[in-house]
């Protein structure tokens, strides 16, 4: 029958229906339930942990929470933390630092790497790297937030609701982890940028220094020195340039390759006239701490002239700061002229202090695109180890030749005279010297907040007005000669407040508190 025939056709139509199963797996993602099958997959996961383990701009910005630098833009997250207006609901950058993202990645790798078919040697190396990075994150949080929950395995959202672990326990964990990681890690990695024995020990030195465990700092820093693989790079300014990246002084770094995964935030430090944002600028306080080229402080050196503040200073000043009259990027930097695009009260992106940073930016026009550069950002370098070693020995009142030798190494590399052993003979004199040396040597590298808190001097240096350069004057546009007409008027930036017992720690962002459903408590004073 015709009708039956037609029915048959329709039934055939019906049969077109796809019979694909409803169980579908992601097409363009690796399913974590079927992973760790090869060495490549394991390396893939470890690389995933390295991705963003630290961010260059975080390092540079950190000085704005100290007397070294100023960040003028509250929305960038550091101004409120620097001037004391930060609060749980206005926590600025505290929000991005209270992060367990990499800790979880690390925990996940550590829980699974044993099933990976890799050599024991490689496994140890990977585990060492992973534990070092995890310890780095905890160290950062313990310093900034005090007590934080210590999470050492991948957790569910319910398991994640835990109270903060006392800071001392967190430090104990960090120290143990770094010690053990150092034992797993090679002195040198085939690929630079990976964590090494020195990286783990260097971070351990930081942790111990923060805990004021001077004896142990001395030992660990000595261990690093004795590794024999590090030495100071011979050119202070060039140390940070792309041409010299991964040099012998570098212990830990964040690597970049231009255009591929470049560092895209160098421009935020440049002067407005060059299209920069002046987001991180040096303060007068920093400028004043540089010695004269004679190795004396500006207060002590009779050769220092108040109206010529920028001449004959420690060469590291020239290498670190762009100042009024400086020859920079092919012209004379002149922020004193009110019609200049760098005039502090002028455009928003002009530096509030009339200074900009030069470190990492000796020659910005050498970059094809300054917003995407290949320069590696140094997290820790050998000079810090030498100075921490000297500092620890000074604190232990072991004033020996090595103390002077360490400091001299750093100074001489910077083309500064050796330490005057007569002027700096006892513990307190040397303490003052080594602290100044640490500040000057590492200026702009994000270490200052850590130091002023552990030295307990934040209350002294972080209260009161922040100033920039003398403001009344002019710059000769050909010679760069600066003439100040007043030695009183300065560019005023802001008034800072630092409350002892409160501002040593950052506020725990309200959103973190809210999300903890009451398990986390706010830091005192906030």
């Amino acid at each position: 029958m015709l009708n039956k025939y037609k029915l048959f056709i329709l039934a055939g139509f019906f049969g077109f229906v796809s019979c694909e199963p409803l169980d579908q797996e992601p097409l363009d993602r690796n399913n974590s339930e079927n992973f760790w099958n090869t060495q490549e997959e394991t390396a893939y996961a470890v690389t995933g942990l390295y991705s963003g383990w630290e961010v260059g701009s975080q390092i540079f910005y950190m000085d704005c929470v100290s007397d070294n630098s100023n960040s003028d833009f509250s929305w960038e997250g550091f101004q409120p933390l620097g001037n004391g207006t930060a609060s749980p609901t206005n926590a600025g950058n505290a929000d991005s630092r209270y992060s367990y993202e990499h800790i979880r990645r690390a925990n996940w790798i550590l829980e699974n790497i044993d099933q990976s078919p890799i050599s024991e040697e490689l496994r140890e190396k990977f585990v060492g790297e992973v534990r070092t990075i995890r310890a780095y994150r905890y160290l950062d949080m313990a310093i900034l937030f005090g007590d934080v929950p210590l999470i050492t395995k991948t957790v569910t959202t319910d398991e994640a609701l835990v109270e903060a672990t006392p800071r001392a326990e967190v430090f104990a964990f960090i120290d143990k982890e770094l010690r053990e990681a150092a034992d797993l890690l090679p002195v040198k990695q085939t690929e630079t940028g990976r964590m090494t024995k020195g990286s783990a020990l260097g971070l351990l030195a930081r942790s111990l220094a923060f805990q004021r465990k001077h004896e142990e700092v001395a030992l660990v820093t000595q261990e690093i020195i004795d590794l024999g693989v590090y030495q100071l790079f011979n050119d202070y300014a060039g140390l940070f340039e792309e041409a010299n990246e991964s040099n012998s002084e570098v212990i830990s770094e964040i690597q970049h390759v231009a255009k591929v995964q470049g560092y895209t935030s160098l421009g935020i430090m440049m002067p407005n006239s060059m299209g920069g944002w002046s987001s991180i600028v040096p303060t007068q306080s920093l400028v004043d701490v540089y010695e004269t080229k004679n190795g004396k402080t500006i207060q002590e050196d009779p050769a220092y002239q108040e109206n010529q503040p920028f001449t004959d200073r420690d060469p590291r000043f020239e290498a670190t700061v762009v100042y009024p009259g400086a020859r920079y990027n092919g012209s004379i930097f002149d922020p004193l002229n009110p019609s200049s695009s760098n005039f502090p009260s002028g455009p928003d992106n002009a530096s509030s202090t009339a200074y900009n940073y030069r470190k990492y930016l000796q020659n910005p026009s050498s970059y094809e695109n300054v917003w995407d550069v290949g320069v590696n950002v140094i997290v820790q370098r050998y000079a810090e180890i030498l100075l921490l070693n000297a500092e620890a020995n000074i604190e232990l009142n072991r004033i020996n030749d090595q103390v002077y030798a360490n400091i001299d190494l750093v100074r001489e590399r910077a083309k500064m005279p050796k330490v005057d052993r007569n002027t700096y003979a006892n513990q307190s004199e040397l303490r003052e010297l080594v602290r100044r040396e640490i500040r000057v040597e590492l200026a702009g590298e994000g270490r200052r907040f850590f130091d002023i808190v552990r030295w307990n001097i934040a209350k002294d240096v972080m209260n009161g007005p922040v100033y920039g350069s003398l403001s009344n004057g002019s710059v000769n546009s050909t010679t760069g000669e600066v003439t100040f007409t007043s030695l009183k008027d300065r560019f005023f930036v802001e008034n800072r407040v630092f409350k002892e017992g409160k501002n040593e720690l950052w506020p725990i962002p309200q959103t973190v508190i809210d999300r903890s459903k009451g398990t986390l408590k706010q830091n005192p004073g906030y």
């Binding site: 229906v17 409803l22 579908q24 097409l27 363009d28 399913n31 206005n90 591929v260 299209g275 459903k517």
Partner: protein
Amino acid sequence: MNKTTTRLFKRNAIPLASALMMGLTIPAFTYAASTVEASGPAFLVQQQQVSGTVSSTEGPLPGVTVSVKENPTVATSTDDNGQFTIQATEGQTLQFRAIGYASVEQIVDGTSLQITLQADNQTIDEVVVVGFGTQKKANLTGAVQSIDAKDLEDRPVTNVSSALQGKFAGVTIIQNSGQPGKDNGSVRIRGLGTVNNADPLVIVDGVESSMNNINPNDIESTTVLKDGPSAAIYGSKAANGVILITTKKGKSGAPQLNYSGYAGWQAPTRLPNYMRSYDHAVILNEALMNEGKTVRFSDTELDAFQNHTDLDTYPDTDWLGLLYSENGFQQNHNVQLSGGTDKINYMASLGYLGQNGVIPVANSNRYNLRTNIGAQVTSRLKIDLGVAYNYQRINEPVNPYTGDMAQIFRQTNRIPSFIPYKYSTGEYGYYGDGNPIAWLDMASTDRMIYKHTSVNLSGEYEILDGLKFKQVVGFQPIDNMSSKFVKAITYYDVAAQQPGPTQGVNNLTVLNYQSERLTMQSLLTYDKTIGNHQLNLLGGFMDETLRHDYSSAYRQGFLTQNLEELELGDPNGQVATGGAKKLILRSFFGRVNYAFAGKYLFEANVRHDGTSRFIGKNQWSTFPSFSAGWRLSQEDFFVNSGLSNAITELKIRGGWGKLGNQQLQAAALTSYPTGDNYYPGHFVLSPGVNAVLGNELQSGGAILDPANPLLIWEETVSSNIGMDLNFSNNISVVMDYFDRKTNSVLLTLPAPRTFGLSDPTENAGKVRNRGIELQVNYRNQVGDFNYEISANGSYIKNELVEWKSPAAEPHSDYYVYQAGLPIRAFYGYETLGIYRSDEEYQNSGVTGINGGQNIGAGDIIYKDQNGDNKIDGQDRVYIGSPDPKYIFGLTANLSYKNFDLNVFFQGAADVQGYLWGEALGMISGSDKPTDIYQDRFHPEHNPNGSMPRALTTWVQNSPSGTPSDFWIQNGSYLRMKNLTLGYNLPETVLSRIGLKGAKIYYSGQNLLTFTGFAKGFDPEAPAGTRGNYYPQVKTNVFGLNVNF
């Protein structure tokens, strides 16, 4: 007499279209009689042209559907003179139907027919499209509302969602942007039921589709299924309601050719009013002084800003004027050809929409092609084929700084007037973030091409009397690509006489995206009427496969800015990405309709859905619904009581249904492949988590998003009680009360920070939407003056009733999830005015926000809710919601002789807007304030100012740093959405030029807006991004509509 030319495409095609499409029997059209003359040459021989005139008591009636009862595919409609011609055989019965008139049947007897229709408010025979079929309006038991083509006609709308705005009770449509090609509104049916994708399901000619792909001109009817009972047949996709769109089909009769088109201009609706140079300079100095800093401008400079004598040094740039420099010319042309015989019908349409932006570069060109062919192959077999092709090119300007368009608007709204656009030397002015108009002059463009094809084939076979099988195959390939070339710009430092900074690098991103959706539906229907018992059964199976594929490529370092092809870029730094996703949905469904004596109505649906999105037993779920109706007006006691003299129809209906939602995120046209997570149950490694090691890029991956294998569907339980009431005095009322509860809402719960991944999706809450809808229509005629008014309004209460966490959970700077509050609830501080003196603050005994630093006269007073004498996060409370409680629409159609006037208002009330960002502006050297700051507090000049004191960076008063109700504004509005004035050419003219009908009209869209919302900002603007979007536009056009 052309009062209803607009009805040309009115009701006539609905039964036909529905029958073609859905295969559900309409009792009036049963094929019972079709056995007779179904085939054989005799049928052809007997066929003849039947013509006649249909009129009402007032005169000839255009737009009346004329169809052959025995063969309903043969249908036509009367022309403007009420005349029709149809192919029929002697002895067949012709049906004449028009809305508002009682139907008439007439046996063909060979003579010219003179039919008179009697006005009748009982729109009994009106048929509406429902899920997988059609239903007589009188027999509806669910909350279903339908509009037809005339409601969309002669308006300069550019997309379907704008066309539907304000037409349906309980349906909120907000148009967020006026950007050419990207001006689709967001559609919410009966409130916001979920925090996830809340878009309704859109079905076009029986197959899931998108509203974006349709030319509004091709639409025959649109039905909204609002409640559970009516939508449950769409099961797991129907939780947010269903919109059914039916495209036009041909009618049998002579070919009909119609042209319609318009041309006109657009302009922004409302633009913010920013302070110009002088005012800005004054307030900036004041703010710097308030902060103890050196002032930026001297008195001489302030004078210079006022004088305008040296615009190079003291510019006063009108940035917004420079940005909105285009007239937004817009034109639309549509040609439609349709016709048919008793065996075959066809419709072909071609549409073109060209839009220029109100800013340079932005434009869109859209071409729509659609053909629908229907064939009655045998008396039992019917085949329909619909093919639609849409081609659209959208250009939008981008910038070298952020690479997108939004920054151009943002930057224009920020850059101060004291930055020059160009110096007199022709060099661009600039500041830190660049010069937005210089960017536009560069014409860096993102060129998007969207190609959407839709093929829809269906065959319906009548196996036995009343028993039909229908198979539908829908195939929709989408092929999109975009090519974004960003040009670097180097400024010139005029002061230093040397090249200034460069923004960006020349770079190109090419993106290719494809998706394919294959839908298979098999339907079996059975319709039977025995005496007073009327039974309709439906059973079906459906299978849908959706796959997305995309790839993108990026290169930078192009040698020139003129050649924009990938190969010309530097291979160094090139990036290639790509991916794919697949989703499978499988469903079984069924429906029973039973009506007794046309008085008692029952309906039950069930759908069993399986999805590949979930895991294991969570894949399958069942969605039942029940509803019933009682037509009191048909009861003897009602008729006998005499009430029927006043009330012609009274129906009470109610029902309950369960619906699902599986979609986590709305699938935006521009997100590739889609932001929606098709595999939420699997922990996967996100690729591209790379790192440089050994100074080389190494490939890495990491788990970034949490998976939840326990996820199940969002289930919505929806109840509805409604009443349809028609009075004999031409007033009809539809009222509905609904209660819609979404259980197990898929929410991204704010996870503890210690969790270490992004917020996981969980079935974590219950959302309830309750409300009332009212629709009133009134139609009357006084002499030559006809008017028709329809109004709709609804009240919706949105509430998060149950929440996994007992505490309030803020999940962004402004919003909170908390039981008892709406889903979108603003969260911040309650304010008590402004401190008028420093002492007032000091004496308050409350430590102000942020530890109380820098607080004093002129700062906002926040309320210490918990009485602990300090203002902190614990003091935040609910301060409003951006989702309106009341929405309403009002349409009036007036006609007098050859003129007709259509006015359409639409609005929302009890809605809050949050004023921040560029809506407010900031007082700094890089942001300009709006003139709302003119009334700022100043201890001497304005001690009673309504705004806080001027500050540049301190955040104690800032709406973004410290959200508070100080910045909450009433966002209610009433908008004249459309005004159309038309003139129909008189018969005398038409006959001389040989046209059947012609109309010229003026139409304006978004002409007037009444709102108390922030000056210069559109109340429909998205709540989160004030300032960074393409503004809404008003449109003035002149149009022509011709029937040949």
